[in-house]
């Protein structure tokens, strides 16, 4: 506000400053500030300089900012200067730019050294000039500076620079910023309301900040509302955010009402008035309950030793007498009304976008669960075997990726190598485990569960022994950095998209293998009736081995994918194993679609709970598990269940 005023004064003064020494004169009139500027005092001076409209101001400001302004002792005038090879100075006239003196010794000229805060102020004053700079980088820089701190003084230069802007992107940005400035500092209410209305569909943080700045409120306590106050809301003490004690304390602090006597005050008063084991007429030993203490205190009050307690009735009376208001800092109600409407509209849009964003998050979480669980689903479905070491296969895949990155430094190439290699490594591990352990435990599912758990402990500790306990990074290639930004609220990182694509690929691939290949046919035959399959020339042993290898191999690839967005640790598998089981169980065993449904449901539910209570992901997981336990009650066989005799219960 003050600056605006200065600007007006400066503009009024402008026509009189027309001599050849215009800038020098102007500088001299602000001499003290320029020589010893501080962040607080430099403002009016800068405003005056900018408002002068002199073509030489920009050059001077830049020189000032870079500490290249000198006060020549000889004539006591300001010069811009530069050091020559010998360390002497060459001084240039601030108005003409002509060389005024060369070889000036350092002692003969006083260098003006503005501090950092002042230089920033100078920088924002320069913004106005830089907005039309031919160099696009400087224009962008200027806009960044402008957006950081919106200021009324920048409105005019910004608008002036829009027409001449050649870059389309910068032009829209300028228009947007101009709109923000109009909304806050526009000349007339009509202009401001129009600008505010434009903000109704702006979801950006900056746009929302503009609205909330316009709608900023302060609290006002008054018996009668002063004229022209723009009331946002009337507050009732004890309801909503305003607590009774806080409200009353405000009356005490600002309007001198008698202070509340709290329980601690009573205690302190009684303690200070103990005389011969008695305080307030009550023996000290009896003062171990609040009722006695109040009685004793009231005795002290009667004796005039302590201030009286403020009764609830008195507080109520005070509240009846005084009003508590939230008052807009902006005095014009038409503007706040428009801003409220715009803000409501923005809020609706933001929450819609947030819902969409949660949806995307849920999809990407579901993709991760799907990837982690699908291998398990294959082995569980085909062989009825719970592989507790599945999580460790995920970990193995991730460490494979890490090792490959140590050897092949190119991240894209290493990823291309790591994916099939992780599959191969875990495929091999899976086949080995099937041959050595699981084969001997068919038809004893609970023992398989325990034996594979033994393997899980051993593998986890082995990884810890080899790679240590600290997390190893698995760096994603550059083209996977960053995020796809749909609007200011909805954005999703490329890595998550890649994981989604990977999950989708695996879904299609598995469906293809199971439905269209000989292997798939045999796998399905073994799943449904192993004895019949064996009598038809299928080797169930081989099929089980391959299936187990396939399931484990997928876990390896999932490991690489998970490692890319989380850290690789020896415990990473354990973090996913329970969720993977849930996914398989909820989805229904032995069905790719079931696993997909399970993963979607668990991912969706978890994100949904997180949305309701964003601060607490632990609670989200707790509720998710409780939900699953209940879900199993109603669909013990999962979402996609086999029915009838084929289910074989």
């Amino acid at each position: 506000m003050l600056r605006l005023l200065t600007l007006v004064i400066a503009l009024a003064w402008l026509p009189f400053a027309v001599s050849a020494q215009e800038l020098q004169t102007l500088l001299q009139s602000h001499r003290d500030v320029i020589i010893k500027p501080s962040r607080k005092t430099v403002g009016p001076t800068l405003d005056a300089l900018v408002a002068s409209g002199l073509p030489t101001v920009r050059g001077f400001l830049e020189a000032w900012q870079e500490k290249n302004v000198y006060l020549h002792a000889e004539d006591d005038l300001f010069y811009t200067g530069s050091e020559d090879d010998s360390g002497d100075l060459t001084l240039l006239d601030v108005d003409t730019g002509a060389e005024a003196a060369t070889g000036v010794g350092r002692k003969d000229a006083q260098q003006i050294k503005p501090n950092g805060g002042v230089r920033r102020e100078i920088g924002s004053a320069l913004v106005a000039f830089q907005l039309s700079d031919p160099d696009i980088a400087r224009r962008t820089q200027a806009l960044d500076a402008l957006a950081r701190a919106l200021d009324a003084s920048q409105l005019a230069p910004l608008i002036a620079s829009i027409d001449s802007e050649t870059d389309a992107r910068l032009k829209t940005r300028k228009q947007k910023l101009a709109n923000y400035l109009q909304a806050r500092f526009g000349e007339s209410p009509a202009i401001r309301v129009a600008a505010i209305n434009n903000l109704a569909d702006d979801l950006s943080v900056d746009g929302r900040a503009v609205l909330s700045q316009i709608l900023a409120v302060k609290m006002l306590v008054a018996q009668e509302l002063p004229d022209g106050t723009n009331v946002a809301s009337v507050l009732a003490p004890g309801e909503g955010d305003l607590e009774r004690d806080t409200a009353y304390q405000m009356l005490v602090d600002d309007h001198g009402l008698p202070a509340l006597v709290l329980a601690s005050d009573i205690r302190r008063a009684l303690e200070t008035h103990v005389e011969g084991g008695i305080s307030g007429g009550v023996p000290v030993a009896k003062l171990d309950n609040q009722a006695e203490r109040i009685r004793a205190y009231d005795t002290l009050v009667a004796a005039g030793k302590v201030p009286a307690r403020v009764s609830e009735a008195a507080i109520d009376a005070a509240f009846a007498d005084w009003g508590f208001y939230n008052v807009y800092l902006e005095s014009d109600p038409t503007i706040t009304e428009a801003a409220e409407t715009a803000q409501a509209s923005v809020k609706t849009r933001v929450s819609l976008s947030q819902t969409a964003d949660i949806g995307l998050d849920a999809i990407s979480l579901a993709s991760i669960y799907f990837l982690a669980a699908i291998g398990l689903a294959v082995t569980f479905g085909v062989m009825g075997v719970i592989n507790m070491a599945h999580g460790e296969f995920i970990m193995m895949g991730a460490y494979t990726g890490y090792i490959v990155q140590q050897i092949v430094p190119d991240y894209t190439l290493s990823l291309i190598i790591a994916l099939p290699l992780a599959f191969a490594v875990t495929f091999g591990a899976g086949v080995a485990m099937e041959r050595l352990v699981i084969r001997w435990l068919y038809n004893r599912p609970l023992e398989t569960l325990l034996a594979t758990f033994g393997i899980s402990i051993a593998l986890q500790q082995l990884a810890k022994n080899i790679f240590g306990t600290q997390a190893r990074p698995l760096t994603s290639p550059g083209w996977l950095d960053g995020a796809w930004i749909i609007n200011d609220v909805i954005q999703i990182s490329y890595i998550r998209i890649a994981i989604f694509v990977l999950a989708l690929t695996f879904l299609c691939l598995l469906l293809l293998i199971l439905k269209r290949t000989r292997l798939g046919l045999e796998v399905r035959a073994v799943t449904q009736n192993p004895r019949m399959a064996a009598s038809m020339g299928i080797n169930p042993e081989k099929i089980k081995m391959l299936t187990f290898g396939l399931g484990s191999g997928i876990a390896g690839i999932a490991g690489v994918a998970i490692g890319l967005y989380a850290k690789v640790t020896s415990e990473m598998g354990a973090d996913y194993i329970v969720q993977s089981f849930m996914t398989v169980v909820v989805g229904g065993v032995g069905n790719v679609w079931g696993t997909l449904a399970g993963a979607s449901m668990i991912g969706g539910f978890q994100k949904g709970v997180e949305w309701l209570n964003p601060s607490n992901t632990l609670a989200a997981q707790t509720y998710m598990i409780l939900f699953i336990i209940l879900f199993i009650q109603f669909r013990p066989k999962g979402i996609v269940a086999l029915k009838g005799r084929a289910a074989g219960d």
Binding site: D288, G454, Q633
Partner: protein, 388 residues
């Protein structure tokens, strides 16, 4: 009846005799009561092992005899520990607060004492008021009741839901695992009312016995644990004898057939599940005052899986087998991880047992499952077979 039951089950007498000799032996050698050959901390370790043996028997009954592979019994153990821990922590803090408030000029009101206790206990999680679940923490009797009631009720509700909808086999195992995971995640939250990650601590200090040295307290808990283990053994042996045991084992082997015999299988499973949960709760209530601290990691799924490991290594379907398994593996674990085992230097590489113990345990567990499904307990059968 009881006499004839013991007469019919000589193994129970053998077990009680062995436990009695062990208890007397430890008493004679312990620091607090005997020749101080066994340190107080080792007495505590032995007392804790007895509690683990007790929950191992419970696990054996529910898994080895009834066929329900519960991967969640440590949840009940933990609840027992938390229940008793709440009283220990409350009562001890109350004593401290009262001492610190005693010198003040005016005696404190009940509300002031409460607030001070709450601030002491919940300061670490940034709270200063008692949550609802602490409403009985002032009363030892009520908290001891909770040791039994909460695991029992939780098992009853969970079991009723799960068995009613015929969730069996690995599904049930996963579901019990989910239950204990949910509990540990819940406890990890700061606003769970149980001090989140910090858990309950200082449980080794028994309020009202501040002047009694730990060496004596540890012996009292050791005896209590031995008593509980003996009583638990007799209780389960009684349940598993006669027709009840017959039906329970029949449920394990073929529950469909049992159903067609007219037995309501779900009631039997629920009975076993709940009873073992209660015993697990009692075991936990005795364990944690000896451990001194309880926190949410104690009820993480891994703990319950280790429980299954002990029972499997000891030998399922034999009560003494599970006791041997729990004692053997947990003592071995503390020997290996405590640096008791000599490291093996292979020249190029030195095997540090603190690092390799879990690998050894995992591998030997696989080996036991594959080659030695009867566990250590089956050795006794072989001995008996030779004697014949």
């Amino acid at each position: 009846m009881q006499r004839s039951f013991l007469a019919q089950n000589p193994s129970v007498l053998w077990f009680l005799a062995a436990l009695g000799i062990f208890t007397i032996g430890v008493t004679l050698l312990a620091e607090g009561t005997g020749s101080a050959f066994i340190s107080t901390s080792f007495v505590k370790t032995l007392g804790k092992v007895l509690c683990l043996c007790l929950i191992a028997i419970a696990m054996d009954v529910v898994w080895g005899y009834c066929g329900i592979l519960s991967l969640g019994h440590f949840a009940f153990f933990g609840i027992g520990g938390y229940s008793v821990g709440m009283w220990l922590m409350y009562a001890r803090t109350e004593a401290i607060v009262e001492t610190s408030m005693a010198p003040s000029v005016i005696p404190p009101t009940a509300a002031e004492v409460q607030d001070a206790i709450a601030a002491q206990i919940f300061g670490v999680v940034g709270a200063s008021e008692f949550p609802m679940i602490w409403m009985f923490s002032h009363s030892l009797v009520l908290q001891l009741l909770m040791v039994v009631l909460i695991p029992g009720l939780l098992a009853l509700i969970f079991g009723w839901l799960a068995f009613r909808s015929r969730v069996t086999g690995v599904y049930l195992s996963i579901l019990t695992q989910a239950m204990t995971l949910a509990l540990s995640l819940y406890l990890l939250q700061n606003d769970s009312g149980l001090r989140g990650n910090n858990g309950l601590s200082g449980l080794q200090n028994i309020p009202g016995f501040d002047n009694v040295p730990q060496s004596t307290i540890s012996m009292v808990f050791f005896w209590a644990s031995a008593l509980a283990l003996g009583a638990g053994y007799v209780l389960f042996a009684r349940v598993l004898s006669g027709k009840m045991g017959s039906v329970i084992r029949a449920v394990r082997d073929d529950e469909v057939r049992v159903r067609f015999l007219g037995y309501h299988v779900e009631s039997y499973k629920l009975f076993v599940f709940t009873l073992t949960a209660i015993v697990a709760g009692i075991a936990g209530a005795l364990y944690y005052p000896q451990a001194g601290i309880i926190n949410p990691t104690e009820v993480a799924p891994i703990a319950s899986i280790y429980l299954a490991v002990w029972v499997a290594i000891g030998g399922r379907g034999r009560l003494y087998g599970s006791v041997i398994g729990a004692a053997f593996v947990s003592l071995l674990a503390s020997w290996f991880t405590g640096g008791g085992a000599p490291n093996i230097n292979l020249g190029v590489y030195e095997i540090l047992w603190t690092e390799w113990w879990l690998v050894l345990l995992g591998a030997s567990f696989v080996a036991v499952t594959l080659f030695f499904p009867g566990g250590i307990g089956s050795l006794f059968d072989r001995l008996k077979g030779d004697a014949k």
